[in-house]
């Protein structure tokens, strides 16, 4: 019953939170509206998102987000340095292919987003079968090191969270 009414419990929770952030006030009326939205929106969108993603550990996901936020700040400083000080001809851009072991679409999307946000890398494409990511790196004297870094730093954590 609960499962049918709330196909995505985390989405519902997030919608409640989103609504309260939007109204910016803690009132009972907002809670009613929030619960209404948290029930209706997941029900309407459920056909587009048939499977419920497996989430092993919420704290692990939150610590992953904290890690990524920190990396984003570091990434900004690094890219700023390259943009400002590195001579144009010495910037060695490279395409890197990263084979991924993740199976869950949500985890792959999160990994691709993380790669784009962090040090000098942008996710450009994915193989049609979903097993390899194509990444463009702004400055990569050693493309293999970037691949290994992504696999050990992000993918292993996501694997523990989602699979």
């Amino acid at each position: 019953m609960f499962r049918r009414l709330y196909p995505h419990p985390y989405l519902s929770l997030f919608l409640v939170l989103t609504w309260f952030l939007l109204v910016n006030q803690w009132k009972l009326g907002s809670l009613v509206m929030a619960i209404f939205l948290a029930t209706v929106i997941p029900l309407i969108t459920a056909p587009y998102w048939p499977h419920r993603p497996k989430l092993n550990s919420m704290p692990a996901l939150l610590s992953y987000v904290a890690l990524v936020v920190w990396d984003v700040i570091v990434a900004n400083v690094q890219v700023a340095k390259i943009v400002l000080f590195m001579p144009r001809d010495r910037i060695q851009s490279a395409w890197v292919r990263v084979p991924i072991e993740l199976k869950s679409p949500e985890a792959i999307a999160l990994l691709a987003g993380t790669i784009t946000m962090t040090p000098g890398t942008v996710t450009a494409d994915m193989s049609a079968c979903g097993r390899v990511l194509l990444i463009h790196s702004l400055h990569a004297p050693d493309p293999d090191a970037i691949r290994d870094d992504i696999k050990s730093r992000y993918e292993s954590r996501l694997k523990r969270i989602f699979e």
């Binding site: 890197v96 946000m117 494409d125």
Partner: protein, 130 residues
Amino acid sequence: MTVALDIILSILLVVGGLFGLIGSYGLIRLKDRMQRLHAPTKASTVGLGTALLVSMFHGLMIGTGFSWQEVLVMIFIFVTAPITANYLAKVHLHSRHYDGQTPQTGVSTDWATFDQTPEDAEPQLPSRDS
């Protein structure tokens, strides 16, 4: 207290503005299409992030209270920025400008942008239970 907060927020604003400027400068300075994608996607994140952070705490100073809506803006920026970057990268790939430079997939199928096989009505995603 308010003076200290005032100074911290001012510094944050200046830092954010600098990052935004560097991101835009990167657009002119970098020479390659894909390289130019790096500067704005990242530099603007911290630039925007600090501006929103300042906006959140500014309410405390002028007495209207801490503002939570900026948290939402931040979440949506962090979620949508990679998707924009991905779409732009796909456009660059699709324009055939990087033919011969991109590595092979190493698996049986090509990169999704170039994949010619007709799609099933139900897309075959990697199965969840394995």
